[in-house]
């Protein structure tokens, strides 16, 4: 099934992104490890959904569709988290502009 390939490919893409973040000093090694494990697990279950079924039963999610629903929520949460970070970075840039302007007003600008 297509989903067997799509999920691992997406997970692989996300894993490569984590390495990119790490190499650009945007992740600590702890965060890198966390996300490698997270996307590794996602990719594994995508490739071997039978394990997902067993795991789903183990934690009380009865069907594969429920597991997919849960996965979708996790992806949305990830997107929400990324947006929060992006907004935070924009806020920081705005603060830096306001700060530099304030210091320049009293002759302390760079």
């Amino acid at each position: 099934m297509v989903i067997h390939l799509l999920v691992p490919i997406f997970a692989l893409f996300m894993i490569l992104r984590q390495f990119s973040y790490y190499s650009h000093h945007e992740r600590t090694w702890k965060e890198l490890l966390f996300w490698l494990v997270f996307w590794g697990v996602v990719g594994f279950f995508g490739y071997e959904p039978s394990y997902l079924s067993n795991f789903s039963h183990l934690i009380g999610i009865r069907t594969g569709s429920n597991a997919l629903f849960l996965f979708s929520i996790l992806v949305l949460l990830y997107g929400f988290g990324r947006l929060t970070i992006i907004v935070d970075e924009l806020e920081n840039k705005l603060t830096q502009m306001v700060r530099e302007d304030a210091l320049r007003q009293i002759g302390m600008g760079r």
Partner: protein
Amino acid sequence: MASKPNVWIVIPAYNEASKLAAILEGIRAVGFDQVVVVDDGSVDNTAAKAREYGAVVVRHAINRGAGAATETGLEYARRVQADIVVTFDGDGQHLFADIPAMIKPLLEHTADVVIGSRFLTPNPVPTLNRFYNRVAIWLTFALAGMWVSDSQSGMRAFNAKALQAIHFESSGYDFASELFAKMKVTKLRHAEVPISVVYDSYGRGKGQNFVQGAETVFRLIIKSLMR
């Protein structure tokens, strides 16, 4: 450090015109005459009042938050090559008499950062604030790996080394936890000094309420996980 250190007091202030006169006079009375007030986009006459009482005023064109205002004050101190900086709340909560004790560990070279703790001496801190602080202490420990008795205190002192090492990025109240994360990474030594605080009806209306506190916690967790 020169024989007489270049000490600056940084006061982040948002709509604190009614409190500033007493604070600035008090700080001068205990022997510190270099004060920078960061007016964080106030809509009252905070800036005019600070100038009237002899402080340097750095004015944000728009309100950016407590963390941003504090960092602006610290940046000013870096540019005037301060040896020691003490941050002091603009709401009249802190006592000027505590400033000499705050800078003592820095002058004795036993610490790089001094935290003024409200919980090392009996203080009339409201129960809700005590609860918030307990949560913040545990959160700081979980995210930064440092245990202190008062992670949210606005009264802190930095030496020149700490001033160069720590640059706050958080605009809001989460800068308090950011401080400890950066102290841990940069291996700065810290000390805690008991301070007294005054909680009048004015001061109780300042700071974070429950919703803002929850937002701060949420932001800290998201940043820690995803940045």
